[in-house]
Amino acid sequence: MTLTDAPGAANAKNAERYLRLYRQMTKIRAFEDNANALYLSGKMPGLTHMYSGQEAVAVGICEALETRDKITSTHRGHGHCVAKGAAFKEMFCELLGKAEGYCRGKGGSMHIADQANGNLGANAIVGGSAGIATGAGLTAKRLGTGDVAVCFFGDGALGQGLLYEVMNMAALWSLPVIYACENNLYGEYTKVEEMAAGALTARAAAFGIETHTVDGQDVLAVNRLAESLVARARRGEGPFFVVLETYRYHGHHVGDINREYYRSKAEEAEWKSGRDPITNFGKWLVAEKIATAEELDGIGEAIRAEAEAAVEYALAAPYPGAEEVAMHIYAGSAHA
């Protein structure tokens, strides 16, 4: 356990913030547990990618953002969505293709977005949102809004040339963008070192971008770094590039069950038992007397109940009507 906020008095003052970090991480875990169950019980169409294990990354970063700040997300995007402020009901509705989903069921897990909270959307093209996040940074700079854009992507996205093109422009134009590389050690079924030559941070340092590496299982470390980079980006000191060292607990997607050929059960067990971001942060909260173990259990239970209720709601919710299939192709006048 390497949680890094100073102990003692200061913490009491920040109790509310700490509990919010805990709650947000717990929400993500609860969301994913339910999504996984929905898939395994055949109630969820398509397939989906679980964020469990990586919660401290999304929460540590998004808690440093305002609603007006923008994020772009990935195929493994539920965590980012919850962390940026989305509600369970609309999220589960989206995963089930229901009309009350954030995208009226048209996007599903891989395209979930939450415009009102500044989430420009998950993306099913690996690295595909690097341009979008950078463009959001350009808007912020051009309009002088002081907004920041965070581009979440996995280690695998380092393979996409687009990322280098946009990081170069972000650097040339000093855009307020934070490139958040979630290194969970694998892209699908391949280890990061088989896909990426050289040091990961060197990929951004090459453009003169300031880079950082942080323990992505330590929500306080992530959050502290994020607070500082966000503030600096608002002042025009961006862009920044951060490697967050983390781990995904599930398979690449919910159907990836037999995975010993590419990673061992021992490795999984090690991360889960020793480096779980929620458990460890919970222990710290108790040790710092910010909450009791019982209070934390209570939080977990309430959130799980909320998630289950949202699932029930979403299961019962209506699908979009057939007429919606031809809606939203164009925002302007209809296609003749």
């Binding site: 977005a113 959307g121 164009y330």
Partner: protein, 336 residues
């Protein structure tokens, strides 16, 4: 062309005016691309804009087509109206992912909550001795992707009016200028005007045969019609102006009247624009056709450099006259 007398402008100047007028009107418009600022593009289409609007709104980019197109998508999603300048239409292949997987689908995938009001300006047209990678007319590719609109101006007048509409449109619009027409002049009103996307124009009325001609193929059709007129054949010329949306009604009405039609487009013939328009006519005006629907596209070959070969690949007035006569005799007319 009724109303007060108009000055004559080159297509290049008409495009420049359209952008300048719109940028004066709407501060959210920015323009980005390679050598668009001081150089004003290799075709000098944008000369003077950076002097008026400054380098914050006329952005010179690195040679990173996927990157800056992606940035434009993100900027469009967050409040700007970017115009992307893609130096040659052949580079569309580089930006297809950002254009077709991202820009085109965002509105639909988000259930109508996000939109991408951007314009991608590029060019088309062979016979400039620019060889296979600088001569293509690739509009059919983007026309196939739902969510994009596709404009093909055939004169300075259209270039200005369609571009202004495209800039104001809520959706991603790809506009193809024929690079051989940049110095061609046409009357352009002093007063502001817009041409709607999705409305075809009858350029010349006729009784015996219809020519549906896109972009510079208008000139081929006009030359052919003039020659046919000498033989007493009266050709009607329809310029679709936009191929998405396609003004099917104007085209069908003409064909129902004349009973004969040849569709002329400079893209490769197979799996191109002539196929779609011909297929719609053959289906929906079936009982009015006195001869098979004719098609003239570019030959299905990469564009050769040699002047001795290149000119053979594109439709010409001579060949169109021949085919029109064949159609009038009831013979099938096919091939470039």
């Amino acid at each position: 062309m009724r109303g007060p007398p108009m000055r004559e402008l080159t297509l290049s100047k008409a495009v420049n005016e359209a952008i300048a007028e719109e940028m004066r009107r709407d501060p959210s418009i920015i323009l980005m691309g390679e050598d668009v600022a001081e150089a004003g593009t290799p075709f000098k289409v944008l000369s003077g804009l950076v002097e008026e609007f400054g380098p914050e709104r006329i952005l010179d980019t690195p040679i990173s087509e996927p990157g800056f197109t992606g940035i434009a998508v993100g900027a469009a999603m967050t409040g700007m109206r970017p115009i992307v300048d893609l130096m040659f239409g052949d580079f569309l292949f580089l930006v297809m992912d950002q254009l077709c997987n991202q820009a085109a689908k965002t509105h639909y995938m988000s259930g109508g909550k996000l939109s991408v009001p951007m314009v991608l300006r590029t060019n088309m047209g062979a016979t400039r001795r620019s060889a296979a990678q600088h001569s293509q007319s690739l509009h059919a590719l983007v026309a196939h992707i739902p969510g994009l609109k596709v404009a093909m101006p055939s004169s300075a007048y259209e270039a200005k009016g369609l571009l202004k509409s495209a800039i104001r449109d809520a959706d991603p619009v790809v506009i193809f200028e024929d690079k051989l027409m940049y110095q061609d002049k046409a009357p352009v009103p002093e007063e502001e005007y817009l041409l709607p996307l999705g409305k075809a124009e009858i350029l010349r009325e006729g009784r015996d045969i219809s020519f549906v001609a896109t972009s510079s193929m208008r000139q081929v059709a006009e030359a052919a019609a003039a020659r046919l007129a000498e033989d007493g054949v009266s050709a009607e010329i329809i310029d679709p102006r936009t191929i998405v949306p396609l003004d099917e009604e104007t085209i069908l009405a003409s064909v129902r009247k004349t009973g004969r039609v040849i569709v002329i487009d400079e893209g490769h013939q197979s799996f191109g624009v002539t196929a779609e328009i011909a297929a719609r006519i053959a289906e929906k005006a079936f009982y009015h056709l006195d001869a098979p629907v004719g098609r003239m596209g570019a030959m299905d070959v990469p564009i050769p450099f040699s002047p001795a070969l290149e000119d053979l690949t594109v439709p010409t007035p001579e060949r169109l006259v021949e085919r029109a006569m064949a159609s009038l005799r009831g013979e099938p007319v096919h091939g470039a």
